[in-house]
């Protein structure tokens, strides 16, 4: 188990170091997120009630669109010099390889979300700090769901010629329950309302989604990578 964890964190550290040196995915994702935030702010009146009602949806759309750019690079960066072959032929178990990559993606996505959130607050005149603990929990759970699905499909599409197109087409339909729950929970949180009563069902849905898709991904990753 210790070896598994060490190999997993070695992969995660390698991916983060590579990304921080090249900044390929982070720069593209951040720029894209800022452009969408700006364009949406022209489309919706920041003072209207309607904008507040859809604020959770807007925010998670930005996270989902920008996130796919990071997830796309996850396995694609291993194609240079056939590095993916070196990883697969090493004694690192498939689940350790997958979870290492997922952790790196998770850190990158959370970082991008943390940059986008205050900008979103400024553009849409929303005080997002009213329920910080709940908001953090929803972001952690929702982002893990997106990351797991995106990372496993990044592995699946890595050898496809149109992978930049294929990945969003494949992952968005599967992410729908996770995105819906995150949107439903985020909207009241951005209005400083606590989560209670029926809304807790969405939290349970998020937790369930994360557990089921993490288990599925860990089980199937060897088949996805080797065939």
């Amino acid at each position: 188990m210790t070896r598994f964890l060490r190999q997993m964190f070695t992969i995660a550290a390698k991916d983060l170091r590579s990304e921080l040196r090249t900044k390929e995915a982070v720069n593209a994702s951040l720029s894209f997120a800022l452009v969408i935030l700006l364009l949406f702010s022209f489309a919706f009146d920041p003072t209207s009630d309607m904008t507040r009602e859809i604020s959770g949806g807007l925010l998670w759309l930005v996270f989902a669109f920008a996130g796919v750019l990071v997830l796309n690079r996850s396995f694609a960066r291993e194609l240079n010099n056939d590095c993916l072959d070196a990883l697969i032929s090493s004694p690192v178990p498939g689940p350790a390889l997958f979870l290492g990559k997922a952790i790196a993606n998770y850190v990158l996505l959370l970082g991008i979300e943390c940059v986008c959130l205050p900008i979103f607050g400024i553009f849409y005149n929303i005080h997002w700090t009213g329920q910080p603990a709940w908001l953090a929990l929803v972001m952690l759970l929702g982002t893990w769901g997106m990351t797991v699905v995106g990372t496993v499909f990044s592995a699946l599409t890595v050898n496809m010629r149109l992978r930049e197109l294929m990945l969003p087409m494949l992952v968005y339909p599967i992410m729908i329950p996770c995105l819906m729950a995150s949107m439903q929970l985020t909207t009241p949180l951005l209005a400083s309302e606590p989560i209670s009563g029926d809304m807790l069902a969405w939290v349970r849905l998020l937790v369930g989604f994360d557990i089921i898709f993490t288990a599925l991904a860990v089980t199937l990753i060897d088949t996805v990578l080797v065939g």
């Binding site: 070695t10 240079n80 010099n81 056939d82 072959d85």
Partner: protein, 232 residues
């Protein structure tokens, strides 16, 4: 002890059989030259032996263990068509990374030892993307030998290597064989292959045309094998 047992391996790409009923054993300490023309199935077979692809039928055993047993991967070293090192990491970071993935006892020491053996210690902190082609190739060789593999799978290892890297690789292969290691290499460079090989496997259109010891005739006349067993 059998280092490798290839048991009636078939590989289909769609309906096309890239490998047809390949079966042979390799004893520990042997050096096998895997020969055949382009498209014969050499790379496909090596990818299956390296765990990068699964056979459609049949199986492979490494050192008496099932191929799916991940621990057997620690015994193999692979040099494929790519150098399999990261451009955005330094030479030291690359070797330390793989030493950690192979769970070596002292990754730092292993990385430093191979940087010295490949004469890359002076540039250990430089990023691989700044390296010359020859330096990158030497680093790739170091990466493959880092964990002292008992079985080396080499796919056209001498192609595109410079003189220094060829000399280094030949010397490491001889050392490995002298220490009881096993080598399987596909190549089109028959002269180098025959000099090093103890056994030969010839593939022809996905099937096995010949398997046996490398004979004096093969060494004296590198075309002999193809004339007698290969497609005319």
């Amino acid at each position: 002890m059998k280092a490798l047992a290839v048991e009636s391996v078939w590989k289909y790409y769609g309906d096309y059989p890239a490998l047809r009923n390949i079966a042979f054993d390799v004893e520990a300490g042997q050096c096998v030259a895997l020969l055949g023309r382009n498209g014969a199935g050499k790379t496909t077979l090596l990818r299956i032996l390296g765990g990068l692809s699964r056979p459609s039928k049949g199986g492979v055993r490494l050192f008496e263990r099932e191929h799916s047993d991940r621990s057997s991967r620690a015994l193999t070293g692979i040099i494929g068509h790519g150098i399999a090192v990261y451009d955005e990491l330094s030479a030291y970071e690359n070797l330390k990374l793989f030493a950690e993935l192979y769970a070596l006892e002292n990754p730092h020491k292993a990385a430093m030892e191979w940087l010295e053996r490949t004469a890359l210690d002076r540039v250990k902190d430089s990023l691989v993307r700044e390296f010359s082609r020859g330096m990158r190739q030497r680093l790739a060789v170091a990466r493959a030998f880092l964990h002292h593999p008992k079985l080396l799978l080499l796919d056209e290892p001498f192609t595109s290597l410079d003189d220094r890297a060829i000399a280094l690789l030949q010397s490491l292969l001889r050392d490995s064989l002298a220490e009881g290691g096993t080598v399987i290499m596909s190549t089109h460079q028959l002269r180098e292959a025959m000099e090093l090989a103890s056994h030969v496997v010839l593939l022809n259109r996905g099937g096995m045309a010949h398997s046996g010891e490398r004979t004096a005739e093969m060494l004296a006349d590198t075309g002999w094998l193809y004339r007698n067993y290969g497609d005319a």
